[in-house]
């Protein structure tokens, strides 16, 4: 079988050896639980608890603030301490509900769960939306909205994004190995919404064990298939993944549904399974703790709202003072100002590195080598776009297709002059998109 892929991309050291063989371990948190109201794209959730309220695990503490939004649930039982401004993993101070964990983990009585076969599509979507599920790969787009295209019968492919192309992260890898049936069950739920769709598990071929495990699991599933992808970053970028699997290409002004596709990542599909089959809201996820400054890298099943400090402690602490902490992968994750921040729905990893290669590699002059053009999955010219961005020349930036950038960072990675291409293009894109919306 030929491996599927796209044009461009890079091959950084994948760093997965540190944590890939560590089974998922459940982690019980210490200290207060912190729940940002905005862990997703769209309107922040509205708190429905107040200071002093006693809450149970699985109790809704904030409701969706609109259609494109998601509710937030408590992952522990305890007492609401109040609303506080707290750092989120991306380094912003955001409004959070703080709950004092009583350590009892008394759970809400979820009542009997209606079998999926008896539920209508609307009921299933309702369940997914109400469970607070968002794209857990990092984007955080409310899954209910994603699963509600105008014409569900025109969706041909549900793609499970099992690429996990970000270096170091092994959370999805462990999930695929250890929770294979939950993952397949999540896919079954999604397929029930789309009568004409085929479910594709798209896995990079550096995860052969996952491929064979999934192949076994879908052997009796006529509507599901497993496809192997070339191991390359950013194989898991939505547009590139859709192209690799279907040879259909969408640009920045289109949605995956325009190509008859919906993409969900591993953790999200498992959350869907938990919501629809088990009737449980989203209160936990798997997080990788890794990097060369971590004593015992591993993968942990973490209650949302757990402080990252707990994770570092669980991984044996640091071998030496790290120079940099990253929430998420090294290619698209956020550098953390402080580890004193909660795990949110989109936190896939915390990485600690001894060296900060960015500050060690100051920017120099572009030598026009063309490496950024070669690797750009969006097939644009990063070095030129960064020049337009530096000059604040929005018109040229847009004319040269700057809006097509997926901000994967391959250009910055490969640049021998160490230019911060993605940073320049990314910030210009934000300005250009904001201008576009104003018009």
């Amino acid at each position: 079988m030929g491996l599927l892929t796209f044009k461009g991309g890079i091959h950084p050291d994948d760093g997965k050896r540190f944590s890939k063989d560590q089974p998922i371990r459940p982690l019980l948190p210490e200290g207060d639980m912190i729940y940002p109201l905005s862990q997703h794209i769209g309107a922040p959730a509205n708190p429905i608890v107040k200071k002093g309220d006693h809450v149970l695990k699985g109790q809704k503490i904030a409701e969706a603030g609109g259609f494109v939004s998601a509710p937030v649930y408590s992952s522990v039982s305890g007492t609401v301490k109040g609303m506080e401004q707290h750092f989120n993993p991306a380094g912003n101070k955001v409004e959070c509900i703080v709950i004092e964990n009583d350590g009892e983990y008394n759970e809400v009585d979820y009542g009997p769960v209606k079998p999926m076969e008896e539920m209508t599509s609307e009921e299933i979507l309702e369940k997914i939306g109400d469970a607070g599920i968002v794209g857990m790969g990092g984007a955080g787009f409310p899954t209910r909205v994603k699963l509600s295209p105008k014409e569900p019968e025109k969706i041909d492919y549900i793609i499970a994004n099992c690429a996990e192309c970000e270096p170091y992260i092994t959370a999805d890898y462990r999930r695929m190995l250890e929770n294979t049936s939950d993952l397949v069950s999540g896919m079954r739920v999604v397929l029930s919404l789309f009568p004409n769709a085929k479910g594709i598990f798209a896995v990079e071929d550096n995860k052969r064990d996952c491929i064979s495990k999934l192949q076994e699991a879908v052997a009796d599933e006529p509507r599901m298939d497993v496809k192997a992808l070339v191991t390359k970053y950013p194989q898991g970028a939505e547009r590139q993944l859709i192209y690799a699997v279907t040879k259909r290409a969408i640009n920045s002004s289109m949605l995956p549904a325009d190509a008859g596709c919906i993409v969900d990542n591993v953790e999200t599909l498992i959350a869907i399974h938990n919501a629809v089959i088990n009737g449980r809201p989203l209160t936990e996820r798997v997080v990788t703790v890794s990097g060369d400054a971590v004593q015992n890298p591993g993968n942990f099943r973490v209650l949302l709202g757990t402080n990252h400090l707990n994770l570092i402690k669980a991984a044996g602490g640091f071998t030496e003072q790290p120079a940099k902490l990253i929430s998420g992968g090294p290619m698209m994750g956020f550098a953390m100002v402080t580890p004193d921040a909660p795990v949110t729905k989109t936190s896939s990893a915390i990485l600690a590195f001894k060296k900060d290669v960015v500050s060690r590699n100051p920017e120099t002059a572009c030598i026009n080598c063309g490496r950024c053009v070669e690797v750009c999955p969006s097939r644009i010219i990063p070095s030129r776009l960064a020049d337009y961005a530096r000059r604040q020349d929005i018109d040229s930036f847009v004319a040269m297709n700057g809006l097509e950038c997926v901000e994967c960072g391959s250009c910055s990675y490969v640049c021998p002059a160490k230019r911060q291409l993605k940073q320049a293009i990314g910030s210009m894109r934000k300005t250009a998109l904001a201008n576009k919306r104003k018009k």
């Binding site: 590139q240 920045s252 940099k324 002059a365 026009n368």
Partner: protein
Amino acid sequence: MNEKYRVSSSPHIRDKIKSSNIMLMVVIGLLPATVFGIWNFRHENAWILVVVTTAAAVLSEYIYEKLMHKPITINDFSAVVTGLLLALNLPPTLPWWMGVLGSVFAIVVVKQLFGGLGQNFMNPALAARCFLLICFTGQMTSFVYDGVTGPTPLADLKAGEAVNTMDMLIGNIRGTIGETSVIAIMIGAMFLILMGVIDLTIPASYLISFVVFIVIFGGHGLDPQYITAHLCGGGLMLGAWFMATDYVTSPITTKGRILYGVCMGLLTGLFRLFGGSAEGVSYAIIISNLLVPLIEKITLPKPFGKGGER
């Protein structure tokens, strides 16, 4: 553990390769041709011209940046590349001070006055060669081998005389210091290809279009002897592998690079066959350098999702 950590925009990892590594590899790639040239023209003491010209390029970059209170960038090896390339493009008998003048022109006028590394729109070494050619036409076109002054094989070829292509491959012929040995040049070029510094796009499109041109207009049809002599003669090989491939002065996209190679191939053919001089590589390359913005304009890539994904 409550201290603040260093933040920066993603990505947080970087490839190991740096601009200075690339420049250093180009210097290494030029060494076979340099060493051969110094040996080939040992009676003319070519080594002095090579050393002085290269040193002058580095020194003029240093002095200019010092005087202009700019950061000193001689550690990036780009001035070494320019100086060495210029030296390899000079006749071994050229007075050393002319080499120095060429280096100063290349670095100060062509490179620094336009904004330094990455901003020059012409290959500095070639621009300096053309500058010297105009200023000192006599010395720049006088070629010696084993103490005997005479025409280069390429001039012989143009005059319709027989040439020894084996000598042209090995390089024991008249010419500039670094251009004579095709074998030495190719060893260096292979090194650069293996190291991923250059690829075949530009040299191949350049050489193929040049061959097509001389087959059509050269009057010798497909005569392999004639084609080989043209390929091995003059500065074509040094130009195609080491100067046409200069990142700064070539287009950034593959399509653009192909078109750029074709421009150089056609211009070189035109100059060699119909021009006054036997040689035409330098002018072909710097004129094509000037065409780069136009080439890039008509070879804009299509983005992903708008036809560019294939």
